[in-house]
Structure formats: C-alpha cells, structure tokens
C-alpha cells in the first residue's frame, strides 16, 4: 500500500508530559514523525500540536485512533485531503563569500526571505513557506554553501469556507 505524507493537527491539554505521551505513542508503535510542532493556543490550557507523519491508510487510521485514545488529546484533525494552509519557518545560515553575497541577497529577495543576521563570513536568512518553497530555496542555496539550518516543522490550519 502507498505510504503518503499526512498532516495531523491536534488540540491537547497544555500539561507537562503530554508531548511525551504523543511522542512515546509514535516511537512505541513504530510510527514515524517527520516533523512536530507544538505551542499554546489562545486558551492557555490547550496546546496545538502539528505532526507530519507517513504511512498507508490503515496505519494513518490507527494513528488517529491511538491519538484520540490518549486522555490528554482533546481532538485530532487530519488536514491531508482537506483544504488547509500550511507554513513552515526556517533559519538558514549560508556561507557568504564576497563574490556570492549579491546572489544570496537576490535569491532571498525572490523568495521573500528576510536577512536576520549578517556576519563576516555568514548570512542568516529567515524563510516561511510550504514545503515546496523551502526545498526549492534550499536547492538554490546548497551550491553556495549552507552551514546550518533550523526548521520549525509544519504548522497548519483549515481554510475557512469561501
């Protein structure tokens, strides 16, 4: 069966140990986590946790059921297959030799990135976008020389009905 990427978004109790319950469920049952992102919502007692995982249909169904079974998980939404917006933020530290600096800035401009730190040898740029945009950018920057990268993982919300 085909293994597809799925974005699961869930509301959980904002309590110590909840992340560990979710992460432990994935590791204990051999499911994989491609990315995971968690932070408080408007209600300080509730956090939103967004997980990107891979699996065939029965596995994804089982993951959703298992997550729902956790006492601290309030609700699980599967985003994949629905109309939703997703974004990821990345900080990229690029090796900026004098002859490359203009090109880096040009690329950053095209991708609407912000330069957040400039040093003698490195530029750090900030980018937000979906996965396609981020990988396109990384492909362009790779030949120039990426020193480090920090990505948040995807956050997602359903679109409102038009």
């Amino acid at each position: 069966m085909k293994e597809d990427k799925h974005v699961l978004s869930m509301l959980v109790d904002n309590e110590p140990g909840v992340l560990s319950r979710v992460a432990g469920l994935f590791s204990g049952r051999g499911y994989n986590i491609e990315s995971l992102c968690v932070a408080e919502t408007m209600d300080p007692q509730i956090s939103r946790l967004t997980i990107v995982t891979k699996g065939n249909e029965p596995i994804i169904e089982q993951i959703k059921k298992q997550l729902n079974k956790l006492i601290n998980v309030i609700k699980v939404f599967e985003m994949t297959g629905q109309d939703y917006v997703q974004l990821e933020l990345a900080l990229i530290k690029i090796y900026a030799k004098p002859e490359n600096r203009a090109e880096i800035l040009r690329i950053a401009d095209i991708f609407k990135c912000k330069v957040v730190d400039v040093g003698q040898e490195y530029y750090t740029i900030e980018v937000t976008g979906d996965e396609g945009k981020l990988s396109a950018l990384l492909n362009l920057l790779k030949p120039i020389g990426i020193k480090e990268i920090a990505r948040t993982g995807i956050v997602a919300l359903f679109r409102e009905a038009k």
Binding site: V12, D13, P16, G17, S20, R21, G24, L25, G28, P58, E61, Q62, K65, Q66, N68, K69, L70, I71, N72, V73, I74, K75
Partner: protein, 563 residues
Amino acid sequence: MELTGAQILMLMLKSEGVDTIFGYPGGVVLEIYDELSKTDIRHILVRHEQGAVHAADGYARAGGRVGVCLVTSGPGATNTVTGIASAYCDSIPLVVFTGQVPTHLIGNDAFQEVDIVGITRPCTKHNFLVKHTEDLPRIIREAFYIARSGRPGPVLVDLPKDVGSKKIKFEMPGEVKLRSYNPTYNPNIRQLHKVMELVEKAERPMIFAGGGVILSKGSKELTEFAKKTQIPVTTSLMGLGAFPGSDPLWLGMIGMHGTFRANMATGACDLMIAVGVRFDDRVTGKTDTFASQAKIVHIDIDPTSIRKNIPVTIPVVGDCRIALENLSRLADEAKFGDLQKKRKPWLDQIVDWKSMRPLDYQQDRSGPIKPQYVIEKLYELTKGEAIITTEVGQNQMWTAQYYHFERPSRFITSGGLGCMGFGLPAAIGAQVACPGDLVVDVAGDGSIQMNIQEMATAVQHKLPVKIVILNNGYLGMVRQWQELFYGKRYSHTCMSCAPDFVKLAEAYGAVGLRATQPSEVVPVLKEGLFSSETVIMDFRVASEEGVYPMVPAGAPITEMLLV
C-alpha cells in the same frame, strides 16, 4: 475542614467504595500508612510489590471492582511495573498509588527516586503526578473514573511525600468531566441492523468472544444471542467462561492451542461476529488466511482494536453487553426461516470435527501422571465452579483446554502479557474478593517460583488458596518449542534444582501434599481442595508432555500440529 493529603486520600478512597488495598509500606508513604491504620480499609501486606499488583488484578477480576495498590517510591514503584503492564494488556481496572520523593527533590536523583510516571506511561491507561495537595481530590476521582470506564485499565497516581503531609481546606469533588475522554457505550443501531442482515444471510456463522464480554458483564446477553440464533461460539483465552463450556454450541478456545473444531470452523465460516476481542497474534496465526471466507463483524468499546490487525466488514464501537442485548432484540424480528434446518449442516460439520479430533491424551494406569489428567480431575471435583488462576505456559493452556468454565470471571490469567508469577498473587486477590469461593492456582514448577514469596501473604491473611503445581522439572512450554522447532536442544529449560514444594509449604505454615502416581491424583486433590488451609499440591507429572493441538507461530490456524 482542614485535612492533610493523606487524610484526603483515605476519604476519597472511602468515597470510591474502596475497602481493600494491596500494598507494601516504605519511607515516603509513612504518612499515608499512618492514616490508613486509622481507617477500616483492609490492607493486605504482600511480600513483593509485583505481588500487590497481581493480587489487585485478581481481586478486580473476581470481584468485578477496581483493584487498589499502595507502594513506596523508587524500587517499590518499579516493582509494580510488570503487574501494571499485565493489567494493561488485559484491560483490568486498577488504581496504583506510588509514593514519590518530596516535590522539591524531584529531578535531583534523590534517595529512592524514580520517574515512575515516565516509566509507566506506555503501560497505563493514564497516569498522574500530583504536584499540589489541592489537586489530589480531583485526581483521585479521575483516576478511578478512567480506570473503570470505557475499556478499563490501570491508572497510576504518583504521590510526593509533601503532597501527603500538607494541610488544605478539603471539599469533596463532584462528578468527573473530562473534555477529552468520553467512551462510546451505545453502539450505532444502524450498524447493528447491518449486522443482523449478515446474520440472516449467513450459512456458517460463528461468534468469537473475548475478554471484553466478561469486562462488560455481557455473558448472559452473549449466551442468549447465540442460542437464539443457533450460532456456535468460540472464545479467546481471555474470554473463557463468557459462554458455558457445557453448551452444545460451545466450540472450545480458538488460536494457537485452540481446539481442532474451533480453528477449523474459523477457516470455514462465512460470518464471524467478533465481540470484545483484539485479534491477538496467538489467536489469528497468519492474518492473511484468518477467517478468509468470512465477513467479519467487530464489536468493541475501543476503536483502536478495530481494524488494527484484521480487516473488518462492519465495525461496531460500543459496550459489548449493550451491543449483544440489542442484537438479541433484533434477532427476535429476524427472518431465519427454519433455523434448526438451516443450521443443521454447519452444526453437523462441527460435531464431525469434534469427533474427528477431540482434545485427547492417554493416561496409563502405571504412570507417569499426565498433567491433563490432573486438570480434568480438578474440573470434575470442583464441578467447573472454582475460581481458577494460572501461571503462564503449559499449565495455563492445559487449564484453558481441560477446565470447562461455566461462568465468567472464574478464569483469571495473564493473557496478553503472559506474565509468569501471576497466578499465586492473583489467587490471593481473588480469594480476598470472594472469601466463600474455592480459589485454585494452577502452576508450573518454574512459574510458581517467580512469586512464591506470596505464600507468606496467603498464610498471614488466612487465605486458603490452593496451589496445584504441575511439576515436570522443565520450563515446559519453552521446552516444547525447543522440541518442535529447535531440534530437541533443551537450552536452559531444565530446572533440575527446585525446592521440595511439600517442605516449602510447611516452612510457610501451609499444607504440602504430593502425588507421584496416577492413583494418588484424586486423593491428593480431595484432601487439598477441601482443606481449610493454604495448600500446595505437588503433582509430579510426565516431564515431556506437550500441549496440543498447536499452531506454529505465524502459520494459518487451520494448520495444526496434532498429537
């Protein structure tokens, strides 16, 4: 009213209806034990914390209530883990209170500190670390509610020392409301109508019932539905007793050591109604070929059990008892035509399978004693009415095969985890729950030694449990696998040095009996079972007897090794 955490704990236990605790004191729970001594709650002092949890498990199953344990921090807490894991696999409602070092020391690697909430996260239904005495009443309420509702399971509550000693103003908490936990009890009636349509059409239906039927107290409803629709019934190990073992529709147990007819029926049926089961690998064997001709209906209160291992035609999420009650009602209106005539070919086929390959063994008069013979005589002498606990391995399987349980909650075994050392403490717990009943632990010489220290618990609390040891000098089930699949190389399965169990019983202040000849089996059983004391009966049985039928792990269950 100003009360300490320990006093609040006692009040809350009383309000949850707790009258018995299995436990073991220690440094950080002194405060709680001090308060406990001022109440009328009965405390069963065990000899090892694992014993406390298994005993609470046996108590919960035999008595149909939540079992409660109280132990100290560190090693006291880690010793409970095996028992908790076993209860989790078998969905047994327990609340385990563990002591913890004072909150200001948590994380400092303090003396007898362990992160028991972290350790037990994957083997509890839920667990709590109580950080403030103010939260204690609510958490205890929630712990009991979570343990007993939905698919039951163990809940652990970790109590730091200072939480128990701090005084606060106490108010009794109200009903539990958890926004994220609402088990579905009432099944979707449209789904049940669909199930009935399949039942009407089916030529070769069977019911496969499991522990969920017993936990939901749905045995009566199961029996009624099966009889009304003339559908034969098999159960998993956990389901034994959910359907009377003497009924003509009874197929015997399914799976690796299931009966020939139950496994053949599984292969041939065109409809399987699975109730309160989780399609464990010991049941299904090779999943691709399991019930391959059948449409499968799966009724369970836990949605994760459905479509986890086996594809299902109609899923029904809900309480097994309520679902069966509804199905029974729907069956009254169903159009079966002449049901007897319709079922005859199928039921005849099952009778054929039964007579072709019944459960069988040969007991020679001159010996050695066959273990199956001991169980059969145990069954006859107790008329199938005793509460039987088992250890794990051959003793467990022979009990499942040869003790024909008539009623639910009479067979108490570590089914999912398969935990050796379970039987004796579980028997102690069952005896506490049912003081008037005969409670027997069927053990092997290997597994009885895993928690033999609980003999002292039984004697101290005057619990007259009976221990039947099928003593073959081997770790029998592992030896059987070595015989069949590892060229008879008995690597470290021979227990050539074991205690003299008769003397051991006497050393504990119990009664010890022994049988070495077939002719001694019945007299020893009679003397032991009808004694008013704790008794060990040591049956020296044939050393290399195997459990049959047997389906090799991962093979289709219709491909059985017969004797």
